[in-house]
């Protein structure tokens, strides 16, 4: 009998980055198939291919042994492949029941909405999941965890043959996780295939029948779960080569510049304390959602901080707005280049000068020549490939855009620079340029907090590594201690190292 879904030689690249390279494995009906790998290993791309959101460059997909082209989300649904989305499908004004059945209400007499049928179906689903809210609860009243449970209920309601769950347990309590696992096991008995993606390896061990490990877009292995102990999985996930990375220069570390004590933001992170020193590059690792970026945003005055204290150069600093943070010598390069980093329809010069306009225009009048000179300086320093400072940034490549964002923050001459995924989605050459720049800046005395999903980047660049797990600092590792295994273990909560 053929597998429910079989992937043969699936390959997908974005620009210069190879997200998936010749990946082949089979997903059997009536089994839970765990998909594990580091951030950037290619799991999300694989999910997107299975659900028709992106199309592979090469390779074939067989469903029930028949080659299929999944061109759209609709095609995927037709084939019985359903993925659990997160936030975007939420209708805050509607009830839980309508959220689950939006766009496909059960029909009763005269093709009208059959509220009764809808409510009882949803009540049954929610009961199976053991949640505490009912079908009539307005979605607006639910927090993130309950929204996620609703999303799970929605996926379960669709009678899928292949159900893809991407980090379904991230925000759930142990009790809810138990219920979810019970539901997943019932689905398995009904012959449904479940692809289960999780960073929590103990969950993988508890639930999965089969485990597939991906690394750098390549398929490492697909094996029965009982033959793969957790340590073995970690070993298979890591072990990437160190090519094309810039070696960090050794820098003498100076006095403390920024001190954070007991930082907390309710529901996001809590009790985070650390210190950054002059000339130091500190890596902040952890899985997406562990609160890494949120800490940076709170320090920079974008999100509110509920508790904790900050000192810069020994003086109290209360983050209130990005403007105030800039004045105290902080700069933050956000991870979302498109929506937070650059004004796309504006020129390189305008973007470069954006954070330093008050200094560039003392009388309030623009000084275009100064702006262009500033832009030119950074175009040269960072090797930005643009025809002139007047070029519109939208027309630049991703890597060059990222360098413009970096220019914008370097122009502000910060003393502490927070970099959030500075090399995400850029080509190898740009990555090396960014690393070279970071290293040189640190040597000149800049303090850098480097947030990255890429472990090798963290390990290669950092003097010290902080690891987050579920909103808390799980470990603090020196450069010598920071290995991929140790970081992953700490990030996955497998060891509660003392911070």
């Amino acid at each position: 009998m053929s597998a429910l879904v079989e992937l043969v030689g699936i390959t997908k690249g974005y620009g210069g980055v190879q997200a998936l390279d010749d990946v082949s494995f089979a997903i059997e009906a009536g089994a839970v198939h765990a998909l594990v790998g580091e951030n950037g290993a290619g799991k999300s791309t694989l999910v997107k291919i299975l659900t028709g959101v992106v199309h592979p460059d090469d390779g074939r997909l067989l469903v029930d042994g028949e080659p299929q082209r999944i061109g759209s989300a609709h095609d995927a649904h037709r084939l019985g492949i359903v993925a659990m989305y997160q936030e975007p499908t939420v209708f805050p004004d509607l009830t839980v029941a309508e959220n689950i059945f939006a766009g496909r209400h059960p029909r009763g007499r005269l093709r009208s909405v059959d509220w009764q049928a809808m409510r009882s179906a949803v009540a049954q689903l929610l009961d199976d999941l053991g949640v505490e809210f009912g079908p009539a609860t307005p979605m607006r009243g639910l927090g993130v965890a309950d929204r996620q449970l609703t999303e799970i209920a929605k996926a379960l309601s669709s009678n899928a043959r292949l159900l893809i769950m991407d980090e379904p347990t991230a925000a759930l309590s142990p009790h809810e996780v138990d219920n979810l696992f019970g539901t997943v096991r019932r689905l398995r008995e009904r012959g449904v295939a479940v692809v289960f993606i999780s960073h929590r390896l103990e969950e993988v061990a508890a639930l999965a029948d089969t485990v597939t490990v991906l690394r750098d877009g390549r398929h490492v292995t697909t094996r029965p779960a009982e033959t793969l102990p957790q340590q073995e999985i970690v070993r298979l996930m890591v072990g990437r080569s160190l090519d094309a990375l810039f070696p960090k220069e050794t820098v003498e570390i100076g006095e403390p510049v920024l001190r954070a004590e007991g930082l907390g933001s309710r529901g996001v992170f809590s009790d985070v304390s650390f210190e950054l020193r002059r000339g130091e590059i500190v890596g902040l690792a952890g899985f997406v959602g562990s609160g890494r970026s949120e800490i940076a945003r709170a320090i920079f005055g974008i999100d509110r901080l509920d508790s904790g204290e900050l000192w810069i150069d020994g003086r109290r600093f209360r983050p209130s707005s990005p403007r105030a943070a800039l004045r105290r010598g902080l700069a933050y390069l956000p991870e979302d280049r498109l929506n937070q980093g650059l004004v796309q329809p504006m020129s390189v010069a305008v973007n470069t000068s954006m954070a330093v306009l008050p200094e560039l225009t003392p009388a309030g009048f623009l000084r275009p020549r100064r702006e262009r000179a500033l832009a030119r300086r950074f175009m040269e320093q960072l090797r930005i490939k643009a025809t002139s400072p007047a070029q519109i940034v939208r027309s630049l490549s991703g890597g060059n855009q990222q360098k413009v964002v970096l220019s914008k923050w370097l122009a502000a001459e910060p003393r502490i620079l927070i970099l959030d995924e500075p090399t995400h989605g850029v080509d190898v050459g740009t990555k090396a340029d960014v690393h070279r720049t970071i290293s040189r800046l640190a040597a000149e005395g800049l303090t850098i907090l480097l947030i990255s999903s890429e472990l090798l980047e963290i390990i290669a660049m950092s003097d010290r590594v902080l690891v987050m797990h579920e909103g808390r600092l799980a470990a603090e590792l020196s450069r010598a201690e920071a290995t991929e295994e140790r970081i992953i273990e700490a990030a996955a909560g497998m060891q509660k190292a003392v911070a």
């Binding site: 974005y14 620009g15 580091e38 951030n39 950037g40 290619g42 799991k43 999300s44 791309t45 999910v47 989305y85 997160q86 975007p88 991407d166 980090e167 991230a170 993606i197 960073h199 899985f287 997406v288 959602g289 920079f300 974008i302 707005s321 990005p322 403007r323 943070a325 800039l326 933050y332 956000p334 991870e335 979302d336 280049r337 498109l338 929506n339 937070q340 980093g341 650059l342 004004v343 796309q344 329809p345 504006m346 954006m354 954070a355 306009l357 008050p358 225009t361 309030g364 009048f365 623009l366 070029q391 519109i392 027309s395 991703g398 914008k408 502000a412 995924e421 995400h424 989605g425 999903s453």
Partner: protein, 348 residues
């Protein structure tokens, strides 16, 4: 430079050029209707009835460039005009009254701005409400009566002529165009507006005082409505509570949008708005020469408004999607950008 960007830039340059061509075409049409059109007196006086529209449109331009909208402007103008007239008729010096009127206009604009900038209520909803509320205020102040007979020295601002030919109001308009053009295009404040109108998040992340700027633009819009009230009083010589409650708002919005100001914020120029205003003036003048009624004229202007936005949308579509032969390249870029983390909780 990428061909698409070049094309887009040339299209923007051409937008103002296109307006000039349309003005000339409308002029030729008017001339064929009546040779009176080309008389110097008529040409100079052409825009006089629309000067107050232009001043309000300039103010609105600041709001729209920053990605907001203010449809209460005509009501603010009415309140300012009514206040000036009422205060003057109570025996106060007319220039002091005008100053008070400007103050009232700024306060009303500020009220809009505070709701939008500080409480984050969408400007569209706020100004839809104040459009009615401020008009009601004008009625409450003046009731159903009318005030006229303001001193000549004052009414000259909107209705006077230098050597019987050159309208004072035209000079007022050009002076404001110059000052506001500099403010919008050559100052830090102007740059902030474009940044906020393009991507508010980026502006905030870059340390731009977004809330303060958003409050300020509504105050500017109010202030310009106040100046417009002075010109209005001068031109018409009298005022009622229902002043400018008809098609004037559409004329203002049309001048702004037809002038090339992106209704979604982030681009536009004072020059474009000025040209659009002249186009509206020439068209209305021509339609009057052709004996078309006010309602028909309003229809044409309304159609022009819709056409201008549709044209802008088509242009923007071409800009972001690329033209057919460049589309493939851009589609690929969009996919790469869509890869920035966000939707899924694990990395790529």
């Amino acid at each position: 430079m990428s061909p698409v960007v070049g094309l887009a830039r040339r299209a923007i340059v051409r937008w103002e050029a296109l307006l000039v061509v349309m003005i000339l075409a409308a002029g030729v049409w008017s001339w064929t209707l009546s040779s009176f059109f080309l008389r110097r007196a008529n040409l100079l006086d052409l825009a006089t009835p629309y000067i107050f529209i232009g001043l309000v449109a300039f103010g609105l331009t600041f709001v729209v460039v920053a990605g907001e909208i203010d449809i209460s402007v005509m009501s603010i103008m009415a309140v300012a005009a009514v206040s000036i007239a009422e205060i003057w008729s109570a025996g106060v010096d007319v220039w002091l009254a005008a100053l008070a009127g400007l103050g009232v206009a700024v306060v009303l604009g500020l009220a809009n701005g505070l709701l939008v900038g500080l409480l984050d209520v969408p400007s569209l909803a706020v100004t839809l409400g104040t459009l009615a509320a401020y008009r009601g205020l004008a009625y409450v102040i003046l009731g159903g009566s009318s005030i006229s007979g303001l001193p000549t020295g004052f009414t000259d601002v909107g209705g006077g002529y230098i050597s019987n030919e050159l309208p004072d109001a035209l000079l007022v308009l050009l002076a404001f165009a110059l000052v506001l053009g500099v403010l919008l295009h050559a100052t830090r404040f102007g740059r902030y507006l474009y940044a906020i109108g393009s991507t508010r998040e980026v502006a905030r992340f870059s340390g731009i005082p977004v809330a303060r700027v958003r409050v300020t633009i509504f105050a500017i819009s109010g202030l310009m409505a106040g100046f417009a009230a002075i010109v209005y009083l001068g031109f018409f010589g009298s005022v009622q509570a229902d002043a400018a409650s008809g098609s004037e708002l559409i004329d203002v919005v049309t001048a702004v949008v037809l002038g090339g100001v992106d209704i979604f914020g982030g681009s536009g120029s004072i020059l474009g708005v000025l040209l659009a205003l002249i186009l509206i003036a020439v068209l209305r003048n021509g339609m009057q020469l052709a004996n078309l009624g006010g309602a028909t004229q309003d229809m044409v202007i309304g159609g022009l408004l819709v056409a201008a936005i549709l044209a802008g949308n088509v242009l923007r579509g071409a800009q972001s999607r690329g033209l057919p032969w460049t589309r493939a390249r851009y589609a690929r870029k969009e996919v790469t950008q869509a890869e920035t983390p966000g939707v899924h909780s694990s990395g790529t």
